[in-house]
Symmetry: C2
DNA sequence: CGAAGTCTTGACTAGACTCAAGTTGGGTGG
DNA sequence: CCACCCAACTTGAGTCTAGTCAAGACTTCG
């Protein structure tokens, strides 16, 4: 475990600037939000810092939680030291819906890097959604996107080769991080995940992840070192992954039922 | 558990007896329902028959649909004639939530065997849930169970060997079909799925599915022929699968938010 | 400087895939 | 009623992707 106290953090943009910026960008990708809505949202979010490799929800309770910076994942342990990472959570993603999804057995969620987590009480969240239907619609669109990502992950684990798995994941990350403004010039982004964690995500061994990354590097598609990914040939990467971004584009406008 | 409700079920239970029996059993597993609730449910369901290997939702529209008999699956196609079956749908399962899940890009759903499908208009469904909170809670518990099954499938595809995949699936089917009264004496149940379809479900090749079934057969765990499975050694099967039914037991009582 | 975690490499193994050739079984039509 | 047909199932042989084991190199940090 890492017990360092990262007071001043320069390079990683995580702990600087406006903590809610990513969430606002994410929601704005679905619905155009006004200043009043954004202010209302800001006023009900409490921000906590979570160190790397800690449970994201130390304080259980009736809250909706959102990842604001860093990286997290949901996972399941198996007998024999095996682990499957069910999904990666990036800034702007809702990490826990409280009771809203009726998930009786919430999977474990841990941070992979130092992160900021936003917390909203269920009461405040409900009121926000009732008062600002655009925010509610954006949240619902976010849920739909998460479900689509989860389905695509089944395809990855069931059908794709190691090169396809890796490049598909990188394409997805590139897209998801771009939406929240975390892809820099030259298609570079922070991705603080170890090769062992990538292995647990992709259903591969650590050694094979290493070799797969070497192949992609050798082919000039991506390079990854020290938690930084640079996509050197995006069309090539998309081709290697047979990546079809359709599943990420929740283009349908969903009309929620008029409650009451 | 009380399995004694159903009518007389002879060889093909599919198209005989009360079509809604499985749905009622499924909901009753979560919440004890009264006669009034069951009658109200019956009065708003339209039943259609769907042949094997047909799209389950020929008539799109604002409906919640439920599988009443038979077998169905949700799937995704890939380039190169590959297919991943995302999940199996058994009698009593909701096969489509309409807009309720905000699923903008609904995956394709097809029947695997001749089936009966129940259709409920969104308006009727909403009113039913508002009038009978126990039904609403049961539906929510069902959604939670479906989500848990989907997560477990990620573990299967990411981590388990072929023998574990197959035996885990069989354990799950045994459990899910038992809940709706479709497991007969000696742990036998109808499972009208081809080995090629099993392959697409488990992320294996058809040939390997065949050989895996032979192993399980040789070890006296299960036998499968002509769409009928008999579990000959359930503890052994559970052991081979390292099956932990915890994920199927939505034991937590979920209190939905008081709307309005 | 030492320690721990991470990454890299090599050698070998094994589980699963592909291809190809049968076999079985149920359904259909003559 | 039988012959045929097609889909599903089975088997064998050979290949290959990915896993395992083990050792060593690189980083980071105390």
């Amino acid at each position: 475990m890492d017990f360092s106290l990262p007071i001043i953090v320069s390079a990683p943009p995580q702990i600087s600037g406006d903590p809610l910026a990513r969430l606002v960008m994410r929601l704005s990708a679905f619905e155009r939000l006004g200043q009043e809505e954004i202010s209302a949202l800001r006023s009900i979010v409490t921000v906590d810092v979570v160190e790397a490799h800690e449970n994201l929800h130390k304080t259980a309770g009736p809250y909706v939680t959102v990842l604001l910076s860093g990286l997290a994942c949901q996972y399941k342990m198996l007998s024999g030291n095996r682990r499957q990472i069910l999904g990666l959570i990036v800034p702007g993603d809702v990490s826990h819906y409280g009771f809203l999804t009726g998930d009786a057995a919430p999977a474990q969620i841990t941070s992979l890097a130092i992160s900021q987590v936003g917390r909203i009480s269920i009461a405040d969240f409900t009121e926000l959604c009732q008062r600002y239907p655009r925010i509610m619609r954006a949240i619902i669109r976010g849920m739909a996107t998460a479900a689509a990502i989860s389905k695509e992950r089944l395809v990855t684990l069931g059908q794709r080769t190691s090169v396809e798995r890796m490049s598909h994941l990188m394409c997805e990350m590139n897209y998801r991080l771009d939406v929240v403004g975390l892809v820099g010039p030259g298609n570079t982004f922070e991705f603080h995940i170890t090769q062992a964690e990538l292995a647990d995500t992709l259903g591969l061994s650590t050694v094979h992840v290493n070799r797969t990354l070497q192949v992609l590097r050798r082919d000039g598609l991506i390079a990854m070192r020290q938690g930084k990914v640079s996509v050197d040939n995006l069309p090539g990467l998309i081709g290697a992954a047979r990546f079809d971004p359709y599943y990420l584009l929740q283009s349908t406008m969903i009309t929620p039922p008029t409650v009451g």
